[in-house]
């Protein structure tokens, strides 16, 4: 399968022995690098310092790290107060708590004030696994993307998470970055470009556009391989920025195929699928099929078991791609 050369993707992508690193590690590295670049960067965390990988920053810059205790609402508000006084705070917690539990504080103290706060939501998606539904953030993209002034980024792997963290630090205004707990496939390299608000072509194709966000982009690449085996030429697109949504970029790509499948580890309502459908409905209506959480709460299990049970697999992407193409032909 021929990957798009401009994306400078990992040479092992699509092969069996792909490298696996957790996206949260990319965040941990990113905040340390951001801290070295900008002395105003501070990190706040709610009693989850190691598991959000904030401890690397805490060890490097102890005087710029703030342990808040289990108080996500106060963390969001304090970060806003610090940002209004010149700091660039990253607030780390699990996505269910931040921007989940503290959504009102994110809305008013951060977004309405246009405070320069970066909300880092860890352990997002059903792949958190054994912790069960309470800790599986599957609604966070939806609640973040409806907030004015907010930028929403869902990086696809650890390297892109590192870049997204640096880009967030350099961008003025509130940003939400979402990442996961488990080790996932490394797809991008240090040379892979990353621009907030621009979709990125992983593989070109003419029959169907597979638009994915987050680590399921890897399963999407595998699905494109399977589709190729049955003679379907699928486009694979990395949609790392949910907001601002790249209307022009998506339109240009979808014009070539006329059919879309969205892939996300999030409820099928309100997240990537919604962003894509809203955008295309307004400029170029085509069939949009979805792979994601089917309007349900998760449960305990291994990440693989859960992704299979709730239909976020290579097979599901292949099936929806065939369906999108069938619907396109009906038109």
């Amino acid at each position: 399968m021929k990957l798009h050369p401009a994306a400078k993707l990992h040479p092992k992508l699509g092969r069996k022995n792909v490298e696996m690193i957790a996206t949260r590690d990319g965040y941990g590295k990113g905040i340390v690098e951001a801290g070295k670049k900008d002395p105003h960067v501070v990190v706040l965390c709610c009693d989850l310092t190691e598991s959000t990988r904030s401890h690397w920053f805490a060890e490097t810059f102890p005087e710029r790290f703030v342990e808040v205790g289990v108080a996500e609402q106060n963390m969001a508000g304090m970060a806003a107060g610090m940002a209004l006084n010149g700091k660039v705070p990253f607030i780390s917690s699990y996505a269910v708590f931040s921007p989940g539990r503290n959504w009102d504080q994110v809305r008013v103290s951060i977004c309405y004030n246009r405070a320069n706060v970066k909300v880092a939501g860890a352990h997002a998606g059903i792949s958190v696994g054994p912790d069960g539904a309470t800790h599986q953030a599957l609604e966070d993209i939806a609640i973040a993307r409806v907030l004015p002034n907010m930028t929403v980024i869902v990086p696809c792997d650890a390297e892109e998470t590192r870049k997204a963290t640096l880009a967030a630090a350099a961008r003025r205004g509130p940003v939400y970055i979402r990442f996961g707990r488990e080790k996932t496939a490394l797809m991008t390299t240090a040379q892979t470009p990353f621009t907030i608000g621009k979709v990125q072509l992983f593989k070109d194709g003419k029959d169907v556009t597979l638009l994915a966000t987050g680590s399921l982009l890897y399963q999407t690449v595998l699905a494109a391989q399977e589709l190729q085996a049955e003679g379907i030429d699928a486009q694979v697109v990395n949609c790392h920025t949910i907001k601002p949504f790249d209307d022009k970029g998506v339109l240009a790509l979808v014009r070539k195929t006329g059919a879309v499948v969205t892939v996300e580890e999030h409820q099928i309502h309100g997240g990537l699928r919604a962003a894509v459908a809203e955008s295309l409905a307004a400029q170029f209506p085509v069939p949009v099929r979805a792979v994601g959480m089917p309007d349900a709460f998760g449960e305990s299990g291994t990440p693989t078991e859960l992704l299979e049970k709730y239909g976020m697999t290579v097979e599901a992407i292949v099936k929806q791609a065939r369906e999108a193409i069938r619907l396109k032909k009906l038109k």
């Binding site: 205790g69 106060n74 969001a76 508000g77 107060g81 209004l84 700091k87 103290s109």
Partner: protein, 283 residues
């Protein structure tokens, strides 16, 4: 801004602020009456004596910060600010109207001099704590003031923020609680008891001062005293009379969230304020 020290002069300003509040609220037709009237003396003390600020340079980095967490009492802040020179008196009549800087709850996007948007209760306390922490990290000398309501202290976030400020011994942070004992649904001790409030703050590692919040001299003294407390953040429990200066509003929770009607009700409120309740001849 040059500080005013003459008490008579400050009291006169506070009375003017109260008259502004009535006029603004009548013109707006909605808003809160009791809290703003009760806090006129505190805001006069802050803007005309306590705060180090400059209306001509509202973004000056050396200014003391004032965060109003109880955003709904913003008419008193707006009136005090405009009397201090942050705007022209005519602007008071724009309260809550389309295009105004004087939003129904303070909004940074519309008026940067209010420091932060506020209204959803408890949030401004965290913002103030963050501001105090940032100032300390940077070795800055200004003070951070935060005005909260008492009903507001029902919010869990308030205590998250107080606990954190106590942990960090933020001595550059001074909270002023408008202890007027009313909230929308009734008296605070009936809705959700706050007492013993002093003990709660002390248990959270705050230094506690209590004053008559309608006595400007006491308010100024307490603020200056608070600045000298080195080991802890200080909270001033400012006991105020809700609706202060208008007899039919005083102490009555019904006036928490409504405005006087234009006409006789408003005229009576202004008549009482202008004559200090009949003590003097109106000017």
């Amino acid at each position: 801004m040059k500080k005013i020290h003459k008490l008579v002069q400050l009291e006169k300003i506070a009375n003017g602020v109260r008259q502004d509040i009535i006029a603004m609220l009548v013109e707006a037709g909605s808003g809160h009456s009791a809290g703003p009237l009760g806090m006129a003396d505190v805001f006069t003390a802050l803007y005309f004596n306590v705060l180090n600020h400059d209306p001509k340079r509202p973004g000056w980095d050396g200014r003391d910060r004032l965060y109003l967490s109880a955003g709904h009492i913003c008419p008193v802040r707006y009136a005090a600010m405009i009397r201090a020179g942050y705007g022209k008196p005519a602007e008071l009549k724009t309260l809550r109207k389309l295009g105004t800087r004087l939003q129904g709850h303070p909004a940074l996007a519309h008026w940067p001099a209010v420091e932060a948007s506020g209204g959803p209760l408890g949030q401004g306390i965290s913002v103030a704590v963050g501001a105090a922490l940032a100032a300390r990290m940077d070795g800055k000398k200004h003070f951070v003031f935060c005005v909260t309501g008492d009903g507001e202290l029902d919010e869990g976030q308030a205590w998250e923020a107080f606990m954190f400020a106590g942990k960090k011994r933020l001595n550059n942070l001074i909270a002023i609680v408008d202890r007027n004992n009313i909230q929308i649904d009734g008296h605070t001790e009936d809705v959700l008891p706050l007492e013993p409030l002093r003990d709660k703050f002390e248990a959270f590692n705050w230094h506690v001062l209590e004053v008559d919040g309608n006595n400007i001299e006491q308010v100024i003294d307490a603020c200056e005293f608070a600045k000298t407390i080195y080991e802890k953040p200080t909270v001033i429990l400012a006991h105020t009379v809700p609706g202060k200066g208008v007899d039919y509003m005083e102490f009555d929770p019904a006036w928490h969230g409504k405005t006087p009607e234009a006409g006789e009700q408003a005229r009576e409120a202004l008549r009482q304020l202008r004559s200090l309740g009949g003590q003097i001849e109106p000017e």
